[in-house]
């Protein structure tokens, strides 16, 4: 082994030995890291769950275009294709008069009065094109397209986004936008707070051992020979804490699914959150490990700096 390898292996070994010898300090520091990393993880999952709820709500919203009974198959196909070509259109479904009637019957099964009003021979319901927009905030271009005189000619009635439903759609859009922003803001806030708390904790553990640092300095140890073990030690904290936070959330979900029979708490869909957590376990673990290791390493580098300086006066 050459000198550099010997030194590197010593730095790593010392870091691990220190980790064991400073067990109590390590546990205290890791407890703080686990709590804060868990909050970050929790806010990540909550944010994803809200996003999913929002997506589900917006997915249920579509624009129904009602066609006149007498338009040709060619005009109809052209309209469907053109709608599909619009940038803000996610999906277009055509329902013939018969299909619309079928749906109507299903929806109103058991309601004889409503059912008797329609029959296959005398079907008052128009054929319908259902348009699903990608972004609810930008349905203006779809509206504009449908309002063109050529297209208006084909329609028996105004598209269904207008009137009562438009107000509802606008409200949902507004609410979901705010929720999304709040979610991102919360994740950012919790991450910043966590970083600060962890940084402070590590700084305190190093402050406790500042004498050690100055002694090593006096004996002629190089900067990295002194700093290295602290960095290694704090990286170990980060790794343990990241794994612990994942395990903690996993246990919470297991408890929630058995104790809380309810699958949803208002907007927070627990079932989805659990599914999301399990499906993204690896990604979440990687994020947690990344955050833990990065904060651990960066904090110990910054915190050791002041004790390693040489006098300049």
């Amino acid at each position: 082994m050459n000198r550099k390898m010997i030194t590197l292996s010593r730095i790593i070994k010392t870091g691990m030995v220190n980790f064991v010898r400073n067990a109590w300090l390590a546990i205290a520091a890791m407890a703080v890291m686990v709590v804060t990393l868990t909050i970050v993880l929790f806010s990540l999952i909550t944010n994803a769950t809200f996003a999913n709820t929002i997506a589900q709500i917006t997915d249920k919203i579509d624009i129904s275009v009602y066609l006149k009974d007498d338009i040709t198959a060619k005009d109809r196909t052209k309209l469907v294709e053109n709608l599909k070509g619009l940038p803000n259109v996610k999906a277009v479904t055509y329902l013939s008069k018969d299909q619309v009637l079928e749906n109507y019957k299903k929806q109103n099964a058991g309601n004889e009065a409503l059912l008797s009003a329609v029959s296959s021979t005398d079907n008052p319901l128009p054929a319908t094109i259902q348009v699903k927009p990608r972004d609810l905030n930008k349905i203006q271009d779809i509206k504009d397209y449908l309002s063109k005189p050529d297209n208006l000619k084909l329609q028996s009635d105004d598209p269904s986004y207008s009137g009562d439903r438009k107000a509802a759609i606008d409200k949902i859009t507004h609410a979901t936008n705010i929720l999304r922003q709040v979610g991102i803001f919360a994740v950012l806030m919790f991450t910043i707070i966590s970083v600060l708390i962890i940084f402070n904790t590590i700084q305190m553990t190093i402050f406790n051992r500042r004498d050690e640092l100055t002694i090593m300095r006096l004996l002629g140890a190089s900067t990295w020979y002194i700093r290295g073990p602290f960095v290694v030690e704090n990286i170990i904290y980060g790794i343990f804490s990241a794994i612990m936070s994942i395990v903690l959330i996993k246990i919470l979900f297991m408890l929630a699914s058995s104790a809380l029979q309810a699958s949803s708490l208002g907007l927070l869909d627990i079932n989805y959150a659990a599914t999301y957590f399990n499906a993204h376990l690896f990604v979440l673990l990687t994020i947690q490990l990344g955050v833990g290791i990065l904060i651990g390493a960066a904090s110990s580098i910054v915190a050791t700096r002041r004790y390693l300086k040489f006098k300049t006066k």
Binding site: R217, L218, G220, Y225
Partner: protein
């Protein structure tokens, strides 16, 4: 080996200098005793030599290294050439006796095999065989002092600085320590010793530099000393 040329050290802007235009020249393999009352400037002198402090003015050259030209990143290399026994020992609290001594060798990149062979020999010299696994807080003051000495001499430095190494010892152990210092001096190490112990100074019959109020009061070969 050690050259101080009109070195002044002032702490703070208008304070009286801790050291005032001190000039000392120490030849290689010399054994020099620095005496003086507490606060006379002995420790400041040693702290300047280890580059813990920077002189306010004057020139310091140790082992051919001019401190004015010493870059920060080379300070560790300088300190590895000098063995220091600190007044307050400065042992690493979380490491065993063996590890404390081995640390001095680890930082210069010595292999594990060599370290395992060298450290016990040095612990033998200071009579600490069998206490390798003790932690510093389990040792008496005298034992800690001897760990500090072992750590300072284990690298066989060209220069050894010992700041009151007999301060906490009973007369017998104090002489053991002095004998160790004389021994490594015979092997060719320059020794700079500060002490209060009149008996040691008088029996050693070495060069004595007396510092009073930041000035050199006397510098005589084979001198005696009275407090």
């Amino acid at each position: 080996m050690i050259l101080l040329d009109r070195v002044t050290k002032t702490y703070g802007k208008h304070a009286t200098p801790a050291l005032d235009r001190i000039s000392v020249h120490v030849e290689p393999k010399e054994f020099v005793i620095v005496v003086g009352q507490s606060g006379a400037g002995k420790t400041t002198l040693l702290r300047l030599l280890t580059r813990e402090e920077k002189p306010s003015s004057g020139k310091i050259i140790v082992g051919g290294i001019d401190y004015d030209k010493l870059r920060d990143r080379d300070i560790p290399l300088l300190r590895r050439k000098i063995g220091v026994v600190f007044q307050d020992f400065k042992l690493l609290p979380n490491r065993t006796v063996f590890e404390n001594v081995a640390f001095a060798l680890e930082i210069v990149g010595m292999g594990n095999y060599e370290i395992r062979h060298t450290v016990p020999k040095v612990l033998d010299i200071v009579n600490l065989r069998g206490k390798e696994k003790r932690m510093p807080y389990e040792l008496s003051g005298g034992e800690r002092q001897r760990v500090a000495i072992a750590r300072a001499i284990v690298r066989q430095p060209k220069i050894l600085i010992a700041d009151e190494p007999t301060g906490n010892l009973d007369p017998k152990h104090a002489w053991d320590v002095i004998n160790v210092l004389e021994k490594i001096n015979r092997y060719g190490t320059t020794v700079l010793l500060t002490t209060h112990n009149q008996e040691i100074v008088n029996k050693l019959k070495r060069r004595v530099v007396t510092i009073e109020h930041g000035h050199i009061a006397s510098d005589r070969a084979s001198a005696s000393y009275k407090i």
